[in-house]
Symmetry: C2
Subunit: 321 residues, 2 copies
């Protein structure tokens, strides 16, 4: 298998620990992704190809494959590619909404092809995901992925609706994260294997993943995360670090998020960090990882599968991107 | 069945000519559409509900039901609702890209909930379409609808790529329309019944539908079409009336579409009309309708089904919206 050019550390750890089947299977997923976006016209080929080539952690496909295990092959490989296509579609649409010029250090589709081109490219990636599963007659996977996609969109809607509202509480934050991030991780596990313990595993690490994302937005450092500190705050996205910080420093609730610029956003990040909120949120994420591992103990696995899934769980809170 | 508040004339003609099964079945589709968008959070309920309530011709669902015939019920009703959800999703996304304030005289989702809300609402409608089919284990329909959705997105991409290019020819225009419009009509027929003659029927009336849309953009009258003349021209969309007109009046190719304002766009519409291009394009659309009816003759049907499909074919070129 040819590894994607820039495999992030936690994924490397999993690949290094695995026997040959996992890298081989991931190679098949890459090939399927390439085929899925090929032959849909020149421009899409370029745009979607660039999105693919920009890499990403391929965490969701890896979860599908690991939950499926070494035996189940074609179904799992297709499902792994499909879930990554949905994930990519949402990133492309997000970049349109945020007018983002760069992602992972490369120009976004929105930047190279405009809002129109990028919206259509996102729709196309989305449609290809379902086509890939339907071609194999896999209605169960279509249902899982469609439901998760509905949740994703609802999570996006919730985030935009709650934007700039400093009154939202932890409960509301967590339910939004479950929709926006948790459900797709959960779906990845269930695409691999129908198992309630795996559903719980996926939901917990998805939530932990989002919490760490939100910590990194405040903590940086930008050299490691690849984006400026306080990017979420500038978008008006109220995350757990801010909610936590406000319990120690209630004045934070009076900040006018609409009035932030890059410098004020960084200053707010410092103020949040000064309350110790980041450590508390990190601790919460680690609790979720622990809960995920307990769920794992309830599922039947080959020892290697359990060990690798455990590494993935650790990986979601040990990363910068 | 409760008819949508403003049923357009060609659809009324079909409903009036049909026996009871068709209106009853369309009522079931409406109910399924209502359920499909319910329970996904307050805001989506409102946004998608408003999109639904704004009506539309429900032409695609009607094609599914007519091709399926009076016998096949639940599968066809689901497929009919799903194709309308995909159609609605693309309208919502289009309105985001065009910053459109109104559609069918009502505020668009983009206008009431912003680009972010509308993009997510579109994604959600899209996902619900696939979920609806997958819930019933209908992988064949998922495959058909996913492929048509891919074509739709490719058509959108082609249109944005070709924008403002007066060098595009009829071939290129037609192949874009096949993707953007024809394939979803074709899909509607095939969702009803797998039959090559019906595929051809759908493709022809879809193309005729698009040609008439493009004529109406130039001819108006705005009181009937509900939008200003020359809206496509202002967006840089080069359509067949313009391409046809340029064969009589080559100076049209020298017009700078980027420099148009509303008044200049209307003047260009007059210039196009003066060449007789609109009659020629209308004649082309009628030829397509005739070809569609010939395809219909090759399919086996109950007499009523054939008569109603024939009315739908006539309807796509006898309308203002």
């Amino acid at each position: 298998m040819t590894r994607p050019s820039s495999v992030p550390p936690p994924v490397t750890a999993v690949l290094d620990a695995s026997s040959r089947w996992l890298p081989a299977r991931l190679g098949e997923v890459e090939e399927l992704l390439r085929q899925a976006v090929a032959g849909h016209g020149e421009r899409l080929g370029e745009d979607a190809g660039a999105t693919l080539a920009a890499g990403g952690k391929r965490l969701r496909p890896m979860l599908v494959l690991l939950c499926a295990g070494p035996e189940r092959s074609e179904v799992a490989v297709r499902a792994a590619a499909a879930i990554e296509l949905v994930h990519m579609a949402t990133l492309v649409h997000d970049d349109v909404l945020d007018d983002a010029p760069l992602r992972r250090g490369l120009p976004t589709v929105a930047a190279t092809s405009g809002r129109e081109g990028a919206t259509a490219t996102g729709d196309l990636l989305f449609s290809r995901a379902f086509a890939l599963l339907a071609e194999a007659g896999d209605a169960r996977s279509v249902a899982l992925l469609a439901d998760a996609s509905v949740a994703l969109a609802r999570g996006e809607l919730a985030q935009r609706r709650d934007a700039f509202d400093l009154g939202i509480d932890e409960q509301r934050y967590l339910s939004r994260c479950r929709l926006k991030t948790g459900r797709l991780f959960e779906c990845a596990c269930l695409l691999g294997r129908a198992d309630e313990a795996l559903r719980e595993f996926g939901a917990e690490i998805g939530l932990a993943f989002q919490l760490l994302d939100d910590v990194l937005d405040v903590s940086g450092p930008p050299e490691r995360t690849g984006k400026a500190r306080g990017t979420d705050l500038l978008d008006g996205t109220v995350t757990l670090p801010l909610i936590e910080a406000a319990t120690e420093d209630p004045g934070i609730r009076e900040v006018d998020l609409h009035a932030l610029d890059a410098a004020k956003a960084e200053a707010l990040c410092d103020r949040i960090a000064a309350t110790g909120a980041l450590d508390r949120v990190r601790a919460r994420a680690l609790e979720m990882v622990a809960a995920a591992k307990r769920a794992l103990d309830r599922a039947r696995f080959e020892p290697e599968q359990r060990q690798l899934l455990s590494l993935v769980a650790d990986g979601v809170v040990q990363r910068y991107s």
